[in-house]
Symmetry: C2
Subunit: 344 residues, 2 copies
């Protein structure tokens, strides 16, 4: 910076003021400084700046993996959003329990970020309270934590509308397919099940535990097995509501392999509006991970800049049913169902 100051014939203070865009610099000097900076390829060292301002200009993001549609979409939206606010994005990838323990033990983000975004973890009480005294706003994304700022989709309401959609089509025997990932049940999973149950209850349909089946995911044959349970019931379902689209697609494939027409003999509904949903013409309950990412970023910004902001605010994002070709009225084959015939 001293070089720039010398070249422009001003003090470092003036260079600093110019580069920060303060209006207290006369136009001619500003021009001189900017040119000098350009000629010397000078860029501010945020680290030196943060030392004196006390702000790091960085948002930390904690994720367990990036290898999913949800994470990919959310971060692809969060990144540019933060960049627009001139914030750096510091990524912590914590794929297993060991690394997770290490993260919470050392909390490397401490003093190195202005806020932390925690994505889709199911944190223990202990972990949550550990984050409480991190000395920065912590935003919980895609999960709700009482008393802490959170951003998420209302999975209960989403599953409720999805199930209502099936009910409105005349289905009464509706199965719910839980897909358990490597890390055990997720938060969304139980919320979605809850919405399903609520819808049945409000329709006066008694809950039948046999209609709720669980399969490991991803697992090539697990879905077929789960389906087998349903199809061998005394009164099999006429519709399957899968916890997420990928499980729904696996269901469709298993059904077609068993020569069971979708949606003629079985309606299938997913959740997420994952890209495969469009590909398979799957009816689904859509959520928008990019909205989640962006909204979380905006909340972070607000909490950073405004210490009076509500530090327990929950932002609940909407979901909506997208009827496509895999749900149809009960016992009443539709023309749109025939487009599907013979297609894999």
């Amino acid at each position: 910076m001293a070089d720039v100051a010398e070249r422009a014939g001003v003090s470092t203070s003036t260079v600093s003021r110019t580069l920060r865009g303060l209006s207290t610099v006369s136009p001619e000097i500003r021009a001189r400084v900017e040119q000098a900076a350009r000629e010397l390829d000078f860029a501010i060292s945020r680290r030196a700046a943060s030392l004196v301002t006390g702000k790091t200009g960085t948002v930390a993001v904690l994720v367990c993996t990036l290898n999913s549609w949800f994470m990919g979409s959310a971060l692809s939206a969060l990144g540019p959003m933060l960049r627009a606010a001139d914030l750096e994005l510091n990524l912590y990838v914590v794929p297993d329990m060991a690394e997770r323990a290490a993260f919470f033990e050392r909390l490397p983000a401490r003093r190195n970020a202005d806020a932390l975004l925690v994505f889709s973890f199911d944190l223990t009480e202990e972990e949550t309270s550990r984050l409480d005294d991190l000395g920065m706003p912590v935003i919980y994304v895609s999960q709700h934590v009482d008393g802490r700022p959170s951003v998420y989709v209302d999975d209960v309401a989403g599953a409720l509308s999805g199930t209502r959609h099936l009910l409105n089509l005349g289905h009464r025997r509706i199965a719910f397919l839980q897909a358990v990932g490597d890390s055990g049940f997720s938060f969304s999973s139980s919320e979605r099940l809850l919405g399903y149950q609520q819808a049945l209850t409000e329709a006066g349909i008694p809950l039948d535990e046999d209609l709720v089946v669980t399969t490991p995911f991803p697992d090539k044959h697990g879905t077929a097995r789960a389906l087998g349970q349903l199809l061998s019931l005394r009164e099999p379902p006429t519709a399957v509501f899968a916890e997420h689209d990928e499980a729904a697609v696996a269901t469709i494939r298993a059904l077609r392999a068993a020569q069971i027409g979708v949606p003629e003999q079985m309606s299938v509904l997913g959740f997420d509006d994952h890209p495969v949903a469009d590909l398979f013409d799957l009816s689904t309950v859509a959520q928008s991970p990019s909205d989640i990412g962006r909204t979380a970023g905006e909340l972070a910004l607000r909490l950073i800049n405004d210490s009076d902001a509500d530090h327990a605010q929950h932002i609940v994002l909407p979901s909506h049913v997208i009827p496509r070709a895999t749900t149809a009225p009960l016992l009443q084959p539709q023309s749109r169902g025939q487009e599907q015939t013979g297609s894999p």
Copy 2:
């Protein structure tokens, strides 16, 4: 840090030495300092440290999106790798041309990272040379740039082996399906086409331009259209080599919709070993994005720590053919082909 020093009854230098793990601290003092640090929840400010060491302790990563299997896997491996080396990961997401221009205009990573990893961009000469005077090692990942450190899979060799596999199965009419994404042809695309052509040439088979078809991707009906071209040739292919697995899966679905048996009447080969490949039992040429990510991180580390290291080194990672159920010998139905029958 002063607080910790006071609490432990030592100087800040000793605290610094202890926390950095230097061996020049006596065990008893070390214990005192560590306890004091723990009690005060003290963590080093990397930003203050970097000011004096000149190292930022950060690796910057430039990506255009995170929303792909490749990026997700690569970063999910890179993250923990960097963490193990006690480096922060600073992510720059540059989804469109405007943001890209802004990035190269301002180069926000300048002075704020020790190295830059550029993922899967097709950079212009100008952009590359702009990065040259960034003052830090720049590693090109999943692309090769002459004279700069690069990490990538040998797409030519991969496509060569893939095509040879089809040739060895007796196929002589082999189509190549190019899948053009939103951003136009990618580097890999043309390399893979080249490998395909090389294999045919070495087998003494003249190149037939009609066998190379192009489809937009993702596009629900594009693949069927491209397939239509192939199937209406005077001498249709008996095998299709798709540029990547997702296009291969689309091809399989289009073929099955048209009642053309895979692999009985048409072999289909993909590239990548994307998760869908396993799901669809798709034969493919496998690459490992996580290896790419990890290797790139290791190279970055080497270039950061050893200024004598070769700054033009290209690391080429292997790919290998994984035969699954979608490729079979020409005109000679196999038992493994029958497993497929009736399955969607």
